[in-house]
């Protein structure tokens, strides 16, 4: 490489560094916002869950078609896949897809995809996409997604509806997770709640109320997973952009060394030239 090429290279790496740095900052802000949304949504979810637990405690598990009962036929599966719209977020999507590929037979499953990357992946693997809810604001399509899965579940098109997403563990870690949305399975309740529940009057009618509660519960779960996936996406992008910035710095350091070395070499050669020519003239 000559010195001009090295200089050009340094300039371009500097530009890349500026861009990755800016993307890191943007992702940091977006991540914080997503985390805030997640914390603010928390009370609703926990209250909803306690309500359902208290109410279902003294009810028979067979009253709602949404609840898991002992014997049910295993049929086709519907999977909701939450991925990202944009790349440049490290191994975020890749880990999720690998997990998906391991857990189910993609070509035999129907999919609802949220996120461009997931749609591309499912397509490539020969999965059947029944709906694509990709958008910049996926939270607004939650009711539509919920209606769709509920309808197709009640029409007995699918025996299982599961959701695959990246669970937000910490800023450094998102772990691919599978959650079974339908049928709903609840943990066994303890006797203490069971006694407490007897005191409640329920209007208009327990089964109707619980049915509604269960539906809200599923919808809320989808919303929650979307929020988590978003927080994970941004933190993952933030980290990969930070790595890219650090790496660019490293490359710039090495290239600068190279540039200085070439320049020094050039000067040395010029000096040598001058000295030899001077000596030859004097002689």
């Amino acid at each position: 490489m000559n010195i001009r090429q090295v200089r050009e290279k340094i300039d371009s790496v500097k530009n890349v560094k500026k861009i990755t740095n800016a993307m890191e900052l943007v992702s940091t802000i977006k991540m914080k916002r997503a985390q805030q949304v997640a914390t603010e949504a928390k009370p609703y979810q926990t209250t909803l869950e306690t309500m359902i637990n208290e109410l279902t405690a003294n009810l028979d598990a067979n009253f709602s078609p949404l609840l898991k009962t002992g014997e049910y036929e295993k049929g086709k599966e519907l999977v909701i896949l939450i991925s990202t719209n944009k790349g440049l977020c490290g191994a975020y999507n890749f880990n999720l897809f690998r997990f998906l590929n391991k857990s189910i037979a993609i070509s035999k499953t129907d999919f609802i995809v949220i996120g461009k990357k997931g749609a591309l992946f499912v397509n490539k693997m020969g999965g059947n996409i029944v709906a694509d809810f990709t958008s910049n604001d996926p939270l607004s399509s939650v009711p539509a997604i919920f209606d769709m899965i509920l309808d197709s579940y009640l029409a007995k098109k699918y025996s299982d509806i599961a959701i695959f997403y990246n669970q937000y563990v910490s800023t450094l870690l998102s772990s691919p997770t599978r959650f079974d949305l339908l049928p709903i399975s609840f943990k066994p309740k303890n006797a203490e709640i069971n006694e407490k529940i007897q005191e409640y009057a329920v209007e208009p009618d327990p089964t109707e109320l619980v049915d509604q509660l269960l539906k809200s519960f599923i919808e809320e779960k989808i919303r929650n997973f979307l929020i988590q996936a978003e927080a994970g996406e941004h933190s993952s992008r933030m980290i990969s952009m930070k790595n890219a910035t650090d790496n660019a710095e490293h490359v710039i350091y090495n290239l600068t060394l190279l540039r200085n070395k070439i320049r020094q070499e050039k000067i040395t050669y010029e000096l040598l030239d001058m000295m030899t020519s001077k000596e030859s003239v004097e002689n």
Binding site: E40, T47, M51, E199, Y200, P204, P206, L209, S216
Partner: protein, 138 residues
């Protein structure tokens, strides 16, 4: 007068957390008022207006559908959305109503129509809310 701890929670945030003297809510079977030491109750709420009476003031909130749970000490209201009078823009409502009416008249798409009907229903509740007197000290 004894007070009951009121929590109004939506998926977005906790809208309200106050000590209230009485709370009037629209349930699926009709409007009820909850006072302190109310019997334990679970109920289904429908779209409408919640009236909250605190020691010194009264307040109205428009809510979407949801649930109510009380054990006499605390009253938890879980709804899809809740907002007060100052959060509503009269002009915007009027515009939304006109739009919705147009869609109901012209559109053939069932989904669009039901969406427009929902908007209209919400707008009616909003205008009702606006007509209530503004919160003031009693």
């Amino acid at each position: 007068m004894d007070t009951i701890k009121l929590e109004i929670i939506t998926p977005k945030k906790i809208v309200k957390e106050v000590e209230a003297e009485s709370v009037t809510v629209p349930t699926a079977t009709g409007e009820i008022t909850v006072l302190a030491h109310h019997m334990s109750l679970f109920s289904l709420l429908v779209e409408g207006i919640v009236k909250i009476k605190e020691k010194t003031k009264e307040e109205f909130l428009a809510i979407g559908g949801g649930y109510l749970q009380t054990d006499g000490d605390t009253l938890r209201i879980l709804v899809s959305r809740a907002y007060g009078q100052h959060e509503i823009d009269e002009e915007l409502i009027k515009k939304a109503v006109e739009n919705a009416k147009k869609i109901i008249k012209t559109s053939t798409d069932e989904k669009e129509k039901s969406e427009a009907l929902a908007t209209l229903r919400r707008a009616v509740i909003d205008t009702k809310l606006l007509k209530k007197r503004r919160p003031k000290s009693i």
